[in-house]
Symmetry: C2
Subunit: 228 residues, 2 copies
DNA sequence: ACAAAAGTGTTGATCATACACCCATGA
DNA sequence: TCATGGGTGTATGATCAACACTTTTGT
């Protein structure tokens, strides 16, 4: 059955970009310059080109629309309800990405459209089924964080244990015990203690740690359980 | 940016159907009747039609090619490498399905092609990148089984605890302790004890249990951890 | 009576949780 | 010297892993 017997749905990629600052878990949205949903906020994304790899497409669109590149990106789910785009049947392969907000300030570069960070808990109405995609990405982030050290992607290279705990608390949406949290994370032996401390704080400065990717990969290979 | 500015990749769905019998974890394959890979074994699947929902498409192809319907089916991952199909760029949304083999005998109905069950550990060379899709489905099955009671989909409605344990052992590929396994599963309270026992065995007959879907959903709602 | 699998409890080790105070620093 | 968050240990209960024998049934 050759493909040209039937009309094809169109194919896009969309990307849920998460960032974290002192206040919130944030999401990067772009303001649409074109119909449909012109002027509405939406996920960055666009049509996949013939011959283009899906992840490459997601990364290309992300860079064109928000300036972001070389960031953590993982496939989320493919959404294909025939009516999700009012024009025609458009299937979208959704990705989610994590960035360190301190290196990607509140308003990113933009190619054509306006881009801005929104608190996840205070989002505008979104175009298409993008709210659904966002909810699904939020759920994935939560569950993935429980068994995989992806949180580091949201932090600067060097961070304090309190920053890390706060990240877990805000993403998992539950309070954690300080002592137990530290014990557990240090026991994993995937954090490297640096000899630096945080700067410019009006109290005792905390030690800075760094994620030890190599140690993590070795432990993962060895089949160790790295749940938090 | 309207979709017709660029040529579109084609879109298919493919389905990895797992079954379990006394011997093996098995996979349902079809023999391709058309080029490319004519005569080679492949996953059941085919082109998504304009206006057709993805999951519906996967189910339709599955029924057309293997006769299977109304089975557990879940989206796996979307594979889109531009060269995965030698003809042109074809993106496939892969699903995986679980069936109770005792109700779907070794050779299924077929629409156009030949369909047959193969032991997962002794597969023929497959068309396209279907080996990769299969490996990915196997991994998903393993990890999903650890925290979700999907194993019941592979068993008859009523089953013994030994059957269930054997299922876990074969999918997780590790030996489990009989007493601990029983304790753990019974404590979850998602198994309903029937008043029947297995028939025609040359030894003491085991009690039959049934998966209590309602109890499971309630516990899941309540946020209980149902890891094995 | 024998072969085959069913069924059943206890113990020790490990892990998770709960919890409160002193310390270092800058203002 | 005060305010702020940094950093630390222990005790209790819960959970997990290891382990072997008796029971039931069919042949």
């Amino acid at each position: 059955m050759p493909s040209y017997e039937y009309a094809r749905p169109a194919l896009t990629t969309d990307c849920v970009v998460f960032g974290l600052d002192e206040e919130d878990l944030k999401v990067l949205l772009i303001k649409r310059g074109l119909t449909p949903f012109k002027g509405k906020w939406a996920l960055p994304g666009g049509f996949v080109r013939e011959g283009e790899d899906l992840e490459k497409s997601a990364r290309r669109e992300l860079q064109e629309e928000t300036g972001l590149k070389d960031i953590f990106l993982e496939q989320l789910y493919t959404f294909g309800h025939p009516k999700r785009d009012p024009r025609e049947h458009v299937v979208t392969v959704a990705y989610y990405a994590l960035v360190n907000l301190s290196e990607h300030p509140p308003t990113a570069d933009t190619d054509a459209d306006e881009a801005a960070w929104f608190p996840f808990d205070d989002l505008p109405k979104l175009a298409f089924d993008h709210s659904e995609i966002l909810a699904s990405a939020r759920e994935r982030l939560r569950s993935k964080l429980r068994y995989s050290p992806i949180g580091f992607e949201l932090l600067p290279e060097k961070f304090t244990l309190t920053q890390l705990q706060s990240l877990y608390e805000r993403i998992l949406d539950e309070q954690l015990d300080k002592r137990n949290f530290r014990k557990k994370l240090l026991k994993l032996e995937i954090l490297e203690e640096t000899d630096e401390i945080e700067q410019d704080v009006a109290h005792r400065a905390a030690r800075l740690y760094r994620f030890d990717r190599k140690a993590y990969l070795e432990k993962q290979e060895a089949g160790l359980n790295l749940e938090i």
